[in-house]
């Protein structure tokens, strides 16, 4: 395999700090560890809550639950054009101020439905019924509780600390310029949410290794990627950054395309998920996508720390956000984005990718609740991650470093 693609598989040698030792199961099952993650990971990281086009015009807003922070973010574009984030919580007695998941607040502002306190689109307290009875209330100095809010490549990030010591650009780190424009042409086309009885890290682990494909996806899409030369789906590119990581999934181009794949290529309807010749190159992509320019490439996984995984392909990307509800309960938010279809052929090809990836994600998910039960049995104390699973190991150690050292 190494000779075929010219890639070195000695990943631990390339990333010696990640090592090769088996790692304790504790972080997946310990309530104390989970509490430390909430305090030291989720309260100290920038977290993605949506896309800028969800709040495009002045007054547009959306609300996103952030379970590990025990709050909901109200993201609103002010009448001054600036995007801000607040706790969706009234300063009077704590009710939610936005009662709908999205909308526009230009006309009405945010009237709290409990006792009528009303906030404007910049979060300022604009109106208080019976104001004279609130002793010492200074309306001009009272507003919604802010969170920090910044944008990278169209993703809206929120930080629980209104003045975080780490700027977003520093948090994004090494990859901040490498996705230039990649996400901006694509629009949300589909989405679903489901709750699972797993630790949030278990789903991220399965997303950053290829070894499971031949087994979990063996009756489904595995052959699109594995082929005869790479049966265990070794991943030819793995990049481990300070916080984040990417891996590239190769395509098997030697395989005869299935009838529908042939058709979708003919009508220019394919995404790089359904490999045949020609589509599976890095041509036209920014340096962050297929960063090692793997020749027969299908898509990448970007594990954006802490809780987001993006599947970046040509013509489509999928975001999966993992919101921990407890040590063994996780809300999974899946959203598909695609370049708007111009022709029916394109539209049909897109539908194929959406249907395919729904089946694939359900296969991954179905595996993981039994995995969590196994980990919780206590019978297994250590996980022997392989060299191919080095990105799982890196993610594990990144969480662990923050839990232990706070950075």
């Amino acid at each position: 395999m190494a000779a075929a693609t010219g890639v070195n598989y000695e990943w631990a040698a390339r990333y010696p700090e990640v090592g090769t030792k088996p790692l304790p199961v504790t972080p997946y099952i310990s309530p104390e560890y989970f509490e430390a993650e909430r305090q030291r990971v989720f309260r100290r990281c920038w977290l993605i809550v949506g896309r800028v086009d969800e709040a495009e015009k002045p007054g547009d807003f959306f609300v996103r639950d952030m379970p590990p922070l025990d709050t909901s973010a109200l993201v609103v574009r002010g009448d001054d054009g600036k995007l801000r984030a607040f706790h969706n919580m009234c300063k009077h007695r704590g009710n939610q101020v936005a009662a709908t998941p999205r909308g526009n607040a230009c006309e009405a502002g945010f009237p709290c439905l409990f006792h009528g306190w009303t906030y404007d689109t910049q979060g300022r307290l604009a109106y208080v019924p019976d104001e004279q009875f609130f002793v010492g209330l200074d309306r001009s100095r009272t507003g919604l509780m802010p969170m920090a809010c910044e944008v990278w490549e169209g993703f809206v990030f929120v930080h629980s600390d209104p003045a975080p010591s780490q700027p977003l650009t520093d948090f994004i780190g090494e990859i901040r310029t490498t996705y230039d424009g990649y996400f901006s042409t694509m629009k949300r086309v589909s989405g679903y949410q489901f709750d699972m009885n797993i630790n949030w890290k278990v789903f991220i682990d399965v997303s950053v290794e290829g070894c499971h494909a031949a087994y979990v996806h063996g009756n489904n899409i595995a052959r699109q990627f594995t082929g005869t030369e790479n049966p265990f789906l070794h991943l030819p590119s793995k990049r481990l950054y300070k916080l984040h990581r990417t891996v590239s999934i190769p395509a098997d181009l030697s395989r005869e395309p299935r009838p529908l794949e042939g058709l979708s290529h003919k009508y220019n309807a394919a995404t790089s998920y359904t490999p045949t010749q020609a589509k599976n190159t890095a041509e036209g992509l920014p340096p962050g996508v297929n960063p090692d320019r793997v020749p027969s490439w299908a898509f990448d996984i970007l594990s954006l720390f802490p809780n987001m995984v993006m599947l970046t392909a040509k013509g489509t990307y999928i975001t999966m956000t993992f919101w921990p509800l407890s040590v063994n309960r996780t809300r999974v938010d899946v959203v598909f984005y695609m370049d708007p279809a111009k022709t029916l052929g394109e539209r049909v090809g897109q539908e194929y990718t959406i249907a395919m990836m729904r089946d694939v994600i359900r296969e991954d998910a179905d595996t993981l609740e039994p995995v969590q039960r196994g980990l919780e049995s206590g019978a297994l104390t250590e996980i022997p991650f392989s060299d191919e699973e080095i990105a799982c190991r890196h993610f594990y150690l990144t969480v662990d470093r923050m839990v232990k050292n706070g950075k």
Binding site: S190, R258, L260, V348, A355, R362, E363
Partner: protein, 111 residues
């Protein structure tokens, strides 16, 4: 339904009542509730006319697609589900899949 079906594909209209489903999740659910024989019958019928259908539907941009062609378009979108069953999985449902009734679908407008 017959008012909204192109003349040259009348032979496929018999699938309209069962497979021309507007919602994505509805098309998936129809796939898994059908027998493999039903899926294959639909798949084979569309496959035999595939080139002609695609050529016909591609004659206009997606934005200008006439209302009278929508049923055929939904059939084609359902065909994507059917093709997964026939060409890839060999069954109407993946062998080991997360219970789809646990998914909360948040699809917006599809076309």
């Amino acid at each position: 339904m017959s008012a909204g079906f192109p003349e040259q594909f009348r032979d496929l209209e018999r699938f309209a009542a069962t497979w021309a489903i507007v919602s994505r999740h509805g098309r998936y659910q129809h796939r898994v509730r059908s027998t493999m024989d039903e899926v294959r019958e639909f798949y084979d019928a569309i496959t035999s006319r595939l080139e002609a259908i695609m050529k016909y539907l591609n004659r206009v941009g997606l934005a200008e697609l006439p209302a009278s062609d929508r049923t055929l378009l939904y059939l084609m979108l359902a065909y994507m589900e059917a093709s997964r069953a026939v060409e890839v999985i060999g069954a109407t449902e993946v062998h080991w899949g997360f219970d789809s009734s646990r998914l909360k679908i948040i699809d917006g407008a599809e076309l």
